[in-house]
């Protein structure tokens, strides 16, 4: 069923969380490591605080940029509810790397619906390997709460081949110079974190 040698990473988050930059860095590092890479996402309407998804696929030769249901090797979540929402795309033996953060969608903010309880436990009931990352706490430790996306890339990097040096080169290539130092710090903290 699965294409030989293709790894699929599904990123899920909320518009405005910096998933786009993270997926750019991820694609760059994978290309530099010699893989064929494809990435699919949607701009426009989806950015306005809505649910945001990026599909990243890499291997010797990738055709479709879109990951089929049950086909993701890694579910890389920037927010708990959004990660849970896209669980059906994860392969049952897959891994979840998820930011331990809750952002209320409009209906919850209005008190009309409730935010699902205990999402980390629900993920663990369904998936053996769930890695919860305290992204905001580590980003603040790095010196800027906006580096959560880089902290999460650090945590993800433990599951992928490219070396820390290759990651640092990709961050340097895509992050504006004045934010590089804090992002490199954030990456290291994410990579070292016990998930």
């Amino acid at each position: 069923m699965k294409n030989d040698g293709i790894t699929n990473i599904l990123m899920a988050g909320v518009g405005g969380q910096g998933t786009l930059l993270a997926s750019e860095i991820l694609s760059e590092v994978l290309m530099q490591a010699g893989y064929d890479v494809k990435k699919a996402e949607v701009h426009g309407m989806a950015q306005r605080g809505g649910s945001v998804v990026s599909h990243v696929r890499f291997g010797p030769k990738v055709y479709s940029a879109i990951i089929p249901e049950g086909g993701a090797d890694i579910l890389f979540g920037f927010e708990l509810l959004e990660s849970y929402r896209y669980l059906p795309l994860l392969a049952p033996q897959g891994t979840v790397v998820v930011n331990n953060l809750r952002i209320a969608p409009p209906s919850v903010a209005l008190g009309r619906e409730t935010y699902p309880r205990d999402i980390p436990d629900k993920l663990r009931q369904r998936v053996a390997d769930v890695r919860l990352v305290d992204g905001l706490q580590l980003a603040e430790q790095a010196g800027d709460p906006r580096t959560v996306n880089t902290v999460l890339l650090g945590a993800l990097s433990n599951l992928l081949d490219p070396s820390p040096d290759q990651w640092l080169a990709a961050i340097k290539a895509l992050v504006p110079e004045r934010f590089q130092q804090v992002n490199l710090e954030a990456f290291d903290l994410g990579r070292a974190a016990k998930a």
Partner: protein, 588 residues
């Protein structure tokens, strides 16, 4: 050659540079917008935003008449606006090569319909390429300029959201160093399309398509990939990727040019296979033509017409095994897009909701005024439609119902195609009210400049349309401007103008909160004093993402709270609260 990761839109822009394009024009529209934004990085290309797609294409045609290679880009529905010049430009042909990129949006990620631009290529008798990834977007676009000049025709390039916004590895080419010479060249028989000249050009157009159909049979962009077994698939564009993945052993005829179709090549391919599938996104465009050639095919009887294709949907369409998927097992709260915290449109829709207006809507961020809790939009058709729709409704309503009619339209959309609607509303004396939501930018597509924003695509200062003077010059007697952050005044002015028995315009002026931050004063965030909060939930009716309801502990009352990181300090919640529960955080 240098390898890099590019989106389809970045690849279209790069192709324009490599092909020696000198002029590019567009109106922004998802998923096409980033093409012009990326072209901006090549200084030798004169790139500009036009007020609408028709003007963009007319600018492009002019540059082509002057001998320059030219690119014009738009979203699929933009082609409707540009269709008038397109159909006749197909007759005149080009001097400098012209490529029109039309970006379709299957699945309607950010669009109001799912139209298939390939029909335009056929109806306008213009050739169309349909790239399958960023590498092809680069190569086919570069080639298209040469083909445009060789066959004396404009060329359409079809993109889709999954081509424009997907990234893949691309090997760059060399930019051409010698740009074509430009200048005036009179050729009325070619460029003055009066009946006498056009009658001579039409047979040329038909013969051109026949020549191209034959030529296309031997071009590398229409290629056969030999597989195993008795299944043959004809496909094009992004659907090729899904077909290749789902049917790895099939033989595939992969079309790079979808109009005109290479009939001889299709016949050669089709005759070799017992079973023939046509796999394409949206309409049965290729399928119907292959059927008309006399071949039995499997196509839209299995492959969905509605929505985009994915490998998963294709597997289901052909009853192939799909992988086991995990289940969530509960209904999750949806997370639709929302107006940003501090959005200047929010207060206007709050007022329209309170005034129980019947709101004819338009295309932009403010279309989100449809969503609860604001729930203040009743129609949305296309760019500029709000005003004409209100005029039409007013013709069939009694006077008291006419007073409920309000058309809302953004500044960029008003200049796109709203001006003509307002002209008609005044001319034909409709008593409706038009609100121009002036946030000084084209918001939904990512903040592009336009003729009343004061800046060009390259960020230079330029002339600025005076919206008040424009409306007055059309004959509107009452044109009033308000700051939508002032809630009471905004509601008062809208209410007065709704009651006025003639056309009136209210301009609500306040820049988008996401506009370049140096022009906006930064305000401290607000907070809620939980003791003052009476749990009336009035502030929640604003639907601001920065305000969240905190349910009370067992039996206690709940209260509103403000997310300090999201709050922009716009203060409209403070004006809505009758109990003084909101306060401004002190600077720390």
């Amino acid at each position: 050659m240098q390898k890099t990761v590019l989106s389809g839109n970045e690849a279209f822009a790069r192709a324009a540079y490599e092909a020696g394009v000198q002029v590019a024009s567009a109106y922004p529209g998802t998923p096409s917008t980033e093409i012009l934004e990326n072209i901006r990085q090549y200084p030798r290309i004169d790139a500009s935003w036009a007020p609408n797609e028709k003007v963009a294409l007319e600018v492009g045609i002019g540059a082509s008449m002057g001998g320059a290679r030219t690119m014009v880009t738009m979203k699929h529905v933009g082609v409707n606006v540009a269709a008038d010049p397109l159909f006749t430009f197909a007759y005149t042909g080009v001097r400098g090569g012209l490529v029109l990129v039309a970006a379709d949006d299957p699945e309607m990620h950010s669009s109001q319909n799912e139209q298939d631009s390939r029909h335009y290529a056929r109806a306008a008798k213009v050739p169309m390429f349909d790239p399958a990834d960023s590498q092809e977007a680069l190569e086919l676009t570069r080639l298209a300029f040469a083909v445009s000049e060789e066959f004396d025709t404009p060329i359409m390039l079809r993109s889709t959201t999954r081509i424009s916004h997907s990234k893949s590895v691309v090997t760059l080419g060399e930019p051409c160093e010698q740009l074509p010479a430009t200048g005036l060249q009179r050729d009325p028989a070619k460029f003055v399309m009066l009946p006498g000249n056009a009658r001579i050009r039409h047979p040329f157009v038909e013969e051109r398509l026949e020549r191209m159909a034959e030529w296309a049979c031997d071009q590398p962009f229409n290629r056969i990939e030999i597989g195993k077994g008795e299944l043959g698939i004809i496909t094009a564009g992004v659907a090729y990727q899904y077909a290749r993945e789902v049917f790895p052993d099939a033989s595939i005829l992969k079309l790079g040019l979808v109009h005109p179709l290479p009939t001889r090549l299709i016949r050669e391919f089709a005759e070799r296979f017992k079973t023939l599938y046509v796999i394409e996104e949206l309409d049965p465009f290729i399928e119907e033509q292959v059927r008309a050639m006399g071949f039995q095919v499997v196509g839209k009887d299995r492959v969905p017409i509605c929505g985009e294709l994915t490998p998963g949907r294709l597997r289901k369409a052909f009853d192939l095994e799909t992988p086991e998927a995990l289940e969530v097992g509960e209904q999750l709260p949806a997370r639709p897009p929302n107006m940003c915290p501090g959005c200047p449109h929010r207060g206007v829709f709050y007022a329209l909701n309170r005034l129980k207006a019947f709101v004819t809507g338009d295309i932009g961020c403010y279309t989100l005024g449809f969503m609860p809790p604001l729930s203040a939009m009743d129609t949305c058709i296309c760019m500029g439609a709000s005003i004409g729709n209100a005029t039409g409704l007013s013709k069939v309503l009694e006077a008291d119902a006419q007073q409920k009619l309000v058309a809302v339209i953004g500044d960029s959309t008003f200049l796109h195609t709203g001006v003509n609607g307002l002209m008609d509303m005044v001319y034909n004396q409709s008593p409706a009210t038009v609100i121009i939501l002036d946030n000084s930018t084209t918001g939904m597509t990512g903040r592009q400049d336009h003729p009343s924003s004061g800046y060009t695509l390259s960020g230079e200062k330029t002339y600025q349309v005076d919206l008040e003077a424009l409306c007055r010059s059309l004959g509107v007697n009452s044109v009033r401007t308000v700051d939508p952050y002032l809630m009471a005044e905004t509601q008062q002015v809208i209410s007065e103008e709704m009651a006025r028995p003639e056309t009136s315009v209210v301009i609500t002026r306040r820049p988008c909160v996401l506009i370049k931050h140096d022009v906006l004063e930064k305000k401290p965030p607000l907070f809620v004093d939980a003791d003052q909060c009476t749990a009336c939930k009035a502030c929640l009716k604003l639907g601001c993402p920065a305000i969240e309801w905190e349910p009370g502990a067992e039996g206690g009352k709940g209260f509103a709270k403000v997310d300090r990181l999201l709050c922009t300090g716009c203060g409209i919640c403070e004006q809505v609260c009758k109990f003084g529960a909101f306060g401004v955080c002190n600077e720390e």
